[in-house]
Symmetry: C2
Subunit: 220 residues, 2 copies
Amino acid sequence: MVQAYVFDVYGTLFDVHSVRTDVERFYPGKGKHLSTIWREKQIHYSFLRQIMGRYHSFYDVTRDALRFAANAVEVPLTPKLEQQLMEAYLHLPPFEESAPVLTALKNKGKQTIVFSNGSVNMLRPLLQNSGLDTFIDVTLSVDERKQYKPSPAAYNLILEHTDLKREQILFASSNGWDISGAESFGFQTAWINRNGQPQEELQLSPDHEYEDLSFLPEIP
Amino acid sequence: MVQAYVFDVYGTLFDVHSVRTDVERFYPGKGKHLSTIWREKQIHYSFLRQIMGRYHSFYDVTRDALRFAANAVEVPLTPKLEQQLMEAYLHLPPFEESAPVLTALKNKGKQTIVFSNGSVNMLRPLLQNSGLDTFIDVTLSVDERKQYKPSPAAYNLILEHTDLKREQILFASSNGWDISGAESFGFQTAWINRNGQPQEELQLSPDHEYEDLSFLPEIP
């Protein structure tokens, strides 16, 4: 039986696509293009740093990805603009079902855990600004081990902070690669497939697949 | 002084964009879209398998990426079609300067090494079909260590097969992430920036940057 629900943050509890609007405000006509590259490079750089053994915090990785994206779409990025755009990540809107689902899980007596590649200086303000912190028991960042998801060492951090076995944990993420990593590590997994993507071809299928978080409290 | 030139294969000595033509033949109107996803997922899956510690050969990774791509663009992929498309990777055209540059390096008495994530059953036919094998002294695949680039363990394979020090090796690749990995490992690097991309923001700048391979024999 599931004792604890672990949630990824970016794209799972919070909508990262909202960043597009902020970018569009500063760079009219470039919002979609720049924010897409920014997000792709953010993930790409965390993977590369993990493989090269050159960990930098996710804050740094996010800023570096923004710099690459600005170069790629050929727009100027002043230090002030960079700072303002980075703040978009502290004010992401939660998905509409995030708070109700967390509340329902708490009412069922489940433990709620947030687990992210994001560094604590990104996670704490985001959870506080959105009010979601009220429904979350534990907030964990890979920064504590300096090992990015989807490495086994990253997911192991969850076991180190609970008295639970892997199979007592339901891991929810909208990111296919994150689900593959969690499945590989031995968690129960729920892939929140918000965009109707095909499953990753990594021979690590999720245990559950949903369009959003709403059905999570139904899992026994 | 540079004693050995190490070349990446896909995108560096050989043009992977030619795959688009093969895909287009089987799926009219979908060639660009499918082949772009195929290539992105191929790299993505090699990274994920490296991070998760679940190595599969690059042949398998390439096939899995093709299956994902076919699902993503919603076209049927029979076993026969899959086999035919996989063969595109054995018949990639070399860039026009690849053979002349390798010849020039051999004439200067340099050692020429090919080093790829590709498995030997992909590399050998490709090099033979193109005739480039004549100009290459050593062909190395990460498959020998089952560690993908850009991990240090992968690049170390080159040292294990030569009597050279890192600084005596010039590493050439068109892939920014591969250059970052080689630079991180301590090789001299030449980024073959064929598409006018911005540099990666990983604080690991290449020592040289060129539009194609032509200038490599000028490096002292």
